[in-house]
C-alpha cells in the first residue's frame, strides 16, 4: 500500500553563515545578533523546518513526573492560534486581530526574528549573515544543527517594557477569550519560563485539577487557574488537588508546592487570602499565588520561574507579590497597578 508523502511546505530555507555569540532583545525594535567578528545585525526568519515559534515538541509538553496524568496535547505555542504558516510566502504570519501580545512566539524564535513595536511582527529582511538556500535533506540537517547550537547561546535584554497601556490592552483581550483557552495561556507562559507544565485535557470532566507544574529542580505542585472572580474555588480546589496527588499519584503533601494563577489577584474581601492563611496555619501548606501579568513580566524580562527558590506566597497579612517579581527581574517596577490587580488586589 502506498502512503503518499506530504509535500514540502518549504522550498527555501535560511541558513546562517556564522553562529552568533549572543542575541539581545530590544523593546520596540528588532533584536540584535552579535557575532565573533564584531558584526551586529538583526536576523530574519529562518523558515525552520520545525517552527519553534508555532509548535512545541512532544517532549516539551509531556510531564515525566506524573506520566499517568491525562494531559492536553495541544502543541500550539500561540494560545490563541494567531501565528500560522503561510505557504505562499513560506514563512509564519501573525493575525493581528487574534494576537494578544503575550510574547511567547518572540521568546521561542531561536534567532530573535520576531519582535514587537506597535504590534508583533516577523522580520523577513534577510541579513548579511544569512543565505537563502533551496531546501533539501542536507540543508535542512545543517539548519537543524545550527538551531540546536543557537538555542544553547545566551539571550539577553527585554522583550517588552511593562506599561499600564500594554497590560490593560492584553488583559482586555484575554478577558474576552473563551474559557477553554485560559489553561493553555498559563501552561504556555510557564513553559516559556522554563517550567514543565501539564494541563487537564479539555473535555476530561473527571480530572478536577487544572494543571500540574514543575519548576527548578524540585518544585512540583498542583495548579488551579482562575480567570474569573470566584477565587475561593481555587483554594478549595488546591486542597482537593493535593489530596488526589498524594494518594493517587504519589506526590506527598510535603512535596507539593501548590500554585494558583489568576488573571487578577483576588479581591481582599473575597476571603481567599484569609483561607490561604488558614491553610498555612493548620496544614503548613503555603499556596503560591501569581497573576498572569506577573508571569508575563517575568517572561518579557527573559527570566525563568523557580518556585522552590522564589516563593510566591502571599496571604491576608500581606497580599502583594510585587517584591517577588522585583527580586527575580532585579529592578524596581514602576507600574500603576490600581485597576489591573497584577501585584496586589484591586482596591
Amino acid at each position: 500500500m502506498q502512503i503518499f508523502s506530504e509535500q514540502k511546505i518549504r522550498n527555501k530555507i535560511s541558513v546562517l553563515k556564522q553562529i552568533p555569540v549572543n542575541i539581545e532583545y530590544i523593546p520596540n525594535k528588532k533584536s540584535v545578533a552579535y557575532f565573533k567578528d564584531g558584526t551586529e545585525c538583526s536576523l530574519s526568519c529562518l523558515n525552520c523546518k520545525n517552527s519553534l515559534c508555532m509548535k512545541y515538541l512532544e517532549s516539551e509538553i509531556s510531564f515525566e513526573e506524573v506520566p499517568t496524568f491525562s494531559l492536553d496535547t495541544n502543541n500550539n505555542v500561540c494560545p490563541v492560534n494567531a501565528i500560522k504558516w503561510n505557504s505562499e510566502t513560506e514563512s509564519p504570519e501573525i493575525d493581528q486581530d487574534k494576537c494578544i501580545k503575550c510574547g511567547l512566539c518572540i521568546k521561542r524564535c531561536p534567532v530573535g526574528a520576531i519582535y514587537c513595536d506597535d504590534s508583533v511582527k516577523i522580520n523577513t529582511e534577510k541579513s548579511s549573515m544569512q543565505e537563502i538556500v533551496l531546501s533539501d535533506d542536507t540543508k535542512e540537517l545543517m539548519q537543524k544543527k545550527q538551531i540546536e547550537e543557537i538555542l544553547s547561546i545566551p539571550k539577553r535584554g527585554t522583550l517588552f517594557i511593562e506599561t499600564e497601556y500594554l497590560l490593560n490592552e492584553i488583559y482586555e483581550k484575554i478577558s474576552n477569550i473563551r474559557h477553554e483557552v485560559h489553561n493553555i495561556i498559563v501552561r504556555n507562559i510557564l513553559l516559556g519560563l522554563d517550567c514543565s507544565c501539564a494541563i487537564r485535557r479539555i473535555g476530561d470532566v473527571y480530572t478536577r485539577m487544572d494543571a500540574i507544574y514543575k519548576s527548578g529542580d524540585n518544585s512540583i505542585g498542583a495548579m488551579e487557574i482562575e480567570f474569573g472572580r470566584d477565587t475561593l474555588d481555587a483554594s478549595r480546589g488546591i486542597l482537593d488537588d493535593i489530596a488526589v496527588l498524594n494518594t493517587r499519584y504519589n506526590i506527598s503533601k510535603e512535596q507539593n508546592n501548590p500554585l494558583v494563577v489568576c488573571l487578577q489577584l483576588p479581591n481582599a474581601r473575597q476571603g481567599y487570602w484569609q483561607v490561604v492563611k488558614d491553610i498555612k496555619v493548620v496544614e503548613g501548606i503555603k499556596i503560591n499565588t501569581i497573576s498572569v501579568g506577573a508571569l508575563l513580566i517575568l517572561l518579557w524580562n527573559n527570566k525563568n520561574l523557580d518556585i522552590s527558590t522564589n516563593s510566591f506566597y502571599a496571604d491576608f497579612d500581606n497580599m502583594s507579590i510585587k517584591k517577588y517579581v522585583e527580586n527575580i527581574i532585579e529592578r524596581k517596577i514602576e507600574l500603576l497597578d490600581d485597576n489591573i490587580g497584577i501585584f496586589a488586589p484591586v482596591k
Binding site: 500500500m1 502543541n75 473563551r178 480530572t207 486542597l239 488526589v244 496544614e283
Partner: protein, 559 residues
C-alpha cells in the same frame, strides 16, 4: 434535519486518538468499540473518577453498556471518525470497523493534518450507502451548503442553522433558494422561535436536543477556520471561509445517486480521482500516480468537464469498491487482545472501601429541653399528625421528603437544624444572617464542634464534589480561627437533599482527604436525617451521637 450527536470535538484530540488507535491496531485490523475503549484507556486518553488507564476502564464497567462511559467514549470517537471517513464498517453491519486509506494518511502524517482534516469536513454529505437507517433524508453536502448560506445571509444562529442548511436539499437550486427566502422571511417577521417550535414538533424532538445537534457542525466550522472564533449567538464567515467556498463551488460535486448511475469502470476511476484530489488539495505529493490521474481524468472527462472533483468515497460508499479501485486491502484480520475483565484482590478491597456506606445505629433518648423550642414543637406535631394520617413511618418520611423537594436555603437550612436538634444536637445554629461564617451551620460542642456545609435542593439536588471541598475548607478554617472548639478527628459534615450522584468519586475524595490530611468528612442526605428523626419521635428510638462525631463517608439510615 441532519442529526449529529454531541461528542468531544477538539480537532487535535481527534487526530491524536486516531494516530494512537492506528499505531496499535494497524491497517490490517477489524476492531470493535471494546478494542478502541481498551486502547484509549491504556494510553491514558480517558479518565474515570479521577483514575486513568486500566483502572479507569474497570471503574466504568457496568452491566449496562449505555452507562459505561469508556464504551460510550469509544463510540463517540467511532462516530466522529466514521463521519470524517477515517473508519468504516468492515462488512454489512455497523461493527467491527476498519481504518480507511485516508486514515492511513492522517495517522502517518508528520504534521498536524489540518488540510486533510478540512477535506474530510468538506466530504461530509448525505445520503450515503453507510447511513441506511437514518431518520433524515436530506440530500446535502452540509459544509458547502453552510458556507454558501453564510455568504447569502451574512450570518447564521443555531436555530437558523437547524431550519436552514441542516434541513435542505442543496442539490436542488429551488430548494436552496426557498430555504434562503424562508430564513429572510423569518428574520423580517421576527418569527424564529415559532418556526423553531414547528421544527421541534415535526421532528418530535426537544428543542434543546435539536440545538445540541449544532455543536458538532459549529466546532468543525471553527476548527477549519470557516467561521469567526468568537462566542456569539450569531456566527459569521471568515475570509478563509469565503475563499474556500469560491474554490469548491466550481468543482464537480458528485453525490451518491449520480455515482451509482455510472458503470463500475467509471466508478473505479471516480473513486481514485476523489481520493487523490482530496490528498492533492491537502498538500500531498501525488507525482507517483500522475499517470493514473491523467488516465482517470480522461475517462471521466464527460462528467468532470475540466473541473476538479469534490467527492469523498469513504464518506459516501462502502469500502469494498474503494479498496478495489485503490488496490489496497484493509481489515484482513480480527483484532484480539486479552482484556483485563476482573479486579485484583487489592483493587476489590480498595473499591469496597470507596463505596462503603455507614448504617447509623439508632439508640439514645431525645432531650426534652428542645421540645420547648417553637420550630421543634411544630416539626414534632407535624410528624405525629402525619403518622395518624399515613400510619406507616415510611410514608411519613416520604411525605416530608417530597414536601422539601424544591426548598431553598431559607426553608431547607432551618429544617436540617430542627432535625439535628431532634437527633440530640442541641446547640446547632444556622449561619443565616452571619456572612462572616464560612460554614452554613455549626453544631457547637464543648470539645467537638462540627461545621456543616448544606446544599438545598434549589441549589443542587445531589450533594456534589464541591460540597466535599467546602466541608474540608470549613474544617481547616474552624481549626485555624478557633471560632469554636473542635479537634482534628471530629467530622466535618456535608448535608444535602440526595446523596451524591458520583458516589464512587465522592467516596474516593473523602478517602483521599483522610489519607492526606487526616480529617473525616461525613455526608448525609435529607431522607436519612428524616428517617432517624421520625423513628425517634414515633418509635421512641434513641440515637447515639458519637456516630456523627467521627462519621467518614456516606451515611445512609434507611428504615
Amino acid at each position: 434535519m441532519l442529526r449529529f450527536r454531541n461528542p468531544g470535538t477538539q480537532f487535535s484530540t481527534q487526530v491524536q486518538v486516531l494516530k494512537l488507535l492506528y499505531k496499535t491496531l494497524g491497517a490490517e485490523s477489524q476492531f470493535t468499540l471494546d478494542d478502541m475503549a481498551l486502547i484509549i484507556a491504556q494510553e491514558k486518553l480517558m479518565t474515570a473518577y479521577g483514575y486513568s488507564g486500566i483502572t479507569a476502564l474497570q471503574l466504568c464497567k457496568t452491566g449496562d453498556k449505555s452507562r459505561n462511559s469508556a464504551y460510550n467514549n469509544a463510540k463517540m470517537y467511532a462516530e466522529v471518525f466514521r463521519m470524517l471517513g477515517w473508519v468504516t464498517p468492515a462488512g454489512d453491519t455497523s461493527y467491527p470497523l476498519v481504518f480507511t486509506y485516508i486514515a492511513s494518511h492522517i495517522a502517518e502524517s508528520e504534521y498536524d493534518c489540518h488540510k486533510l482534516y478540512e477535506q474530510c469536513v468538506l466530504g461530509i454529505n448525505n445520503p450515503t450507502e453507510l447511513t441506511d437507517n437514518m431518520s433524515y433524508n436530506e440530500n446535502v453536502r452540509l459544509f458547502k451548503c453552510i458556507l454558501q448560506a453564510l455568504i447569502d445571509l451574512g450570518s447564521l444562529n443555531n436555530r437558523e442553522l437547524c431550519i436552514g442548511p441542516m434541513s435542505v436539499n442543496d442539490i436542488s437550486v429551488n430548494d436552496y433558494t426557498n430555504m434562503i427566502n424562508h430564513i429572510n422571511n423569518i428574520r423580517a417577521k421576527d418569527i424564529l422561535l415559532q418556526e423553531f417550535d414547528k421544527l421541534s414538533q415535526n421532528l418530535r424532538m426537544a428543542q434543546n436536543s435539536i440545538i445540541n445537534c449544532t455543536r458538532m457542525p459549529k466546532a468543525l466550522l471553527k476548527a477549519c477556520g470557516y467561521i469567526e472564533d468568537k462566542t456569539s449567538r450569531k456566527f459569521k464567515i471568515t475570509q478563509y471561509g469565503i475563499d474556500t467556498y469560491n474554490k469548491i463551488k466550481v468543482m464537480k460535486d458528485l453525490r451518491l445517486k449520480e455515482f451509482n448511475s455510472y458503470n463500475e469502470d467509471i466508478q473505479l476511476s471516480l473513486i481514485r480521482l476523489g481520493i487523490y484530489s482530496m490528498l492533492q488539495r491537502a498538500g500531498y505529493d501525488l507525482s507517483d500516480v500522475k499517470d493514473v490521474i491523467v488516465a482517470d481524468n480522461k475517462k471521466c472527462e464527460y462528467i468532470l468537464k475540466g473541473r476538479d472533483l469534490l467527492f469523498s468515497p469513504y464518506q459516501t460508499i462502502k469500502r469494498t469498491l474503494i479498496e478495489k479501485a485503490l488496490g489496497v486491502e484493509y481489515g484482513t484480520k480480527l483484532y484480539s487482545e486479552e482484556r483485563p475483565n476482573t479486579f485484583t484482590q487489592k483493587q476489590k478491597k480498595e473499591m469496597k472501601k470507596h463505596i462503603k456506606s455507614l448504617n447509623l445505629n439508632v439508640n439514645s433518648n431525645i432531650d426534652e429541653k428542645i421540645l420547648y423550642e417553637k420550630d421543634v414543637q411544630n416539626f414534632y406535631e407535624r410528624v405525629i399528625n402525619l403518622k395518624k394520617k399515613f400510619v406507616v413511618n415510611k410514608k411519613v418520611i416520604e411525605h416530608l421528603f417530597t414536601e422539601y423537594r424544591d426548598s431553598d436555603l431559607n426553608s431547607f437550612y432551618p429544617l436540617v437544624v430542627v432535625v439535628l436538634k431532634i437527633l440530640g444536637f442541641n446547640n446547632v445554629f444556622s449561619r443565616q444572617g452571619d456572612n462572616g461564617a464560612r460554614w452554613d451551620a455549626i453544631i457547637i460542642d464543648e470539645e467537638k464542634s462540627i461545621p456543616i456545609e448544606m446544599k438545598s435542593p434549589k441549589e443542587v439536588s445531589h450533594i456534589s464534589i464541591k460540597a466535599i471541598q467546602q466541608a474540608l475548607e470549613n474544617k481547616i478554617i474552624l481549626l485555624s480561627r478557633k471560632t469554636y472548639i473542635t479537634d482534628k478527628k471530629t467530622t466535618s459534615l456535608a448535608i444535602g437533599y440526595y446523596l451524591p450522584n458520583e458516589r464512587a468519586e465522592v467516596n474516593a475524595l473523602i478517602s483521599d482527604i483522610k489519607n492526606t490530611y487526616g480529617y473525616n468528612i461525613g455526608v448525609i442526605d435529607l431522607k436519612s436525617l428524616l428517617s432517624i428523626a421520625v423513628s425517634i419521635i414515633i418509635d421512641g428510638k434513641t440515637f447515639d451521637k458519637k456516630y456523627f462525631y467521627e462519621l467518614e463517608g456516606l451515611a445512609n439510615a434507611n428504615i
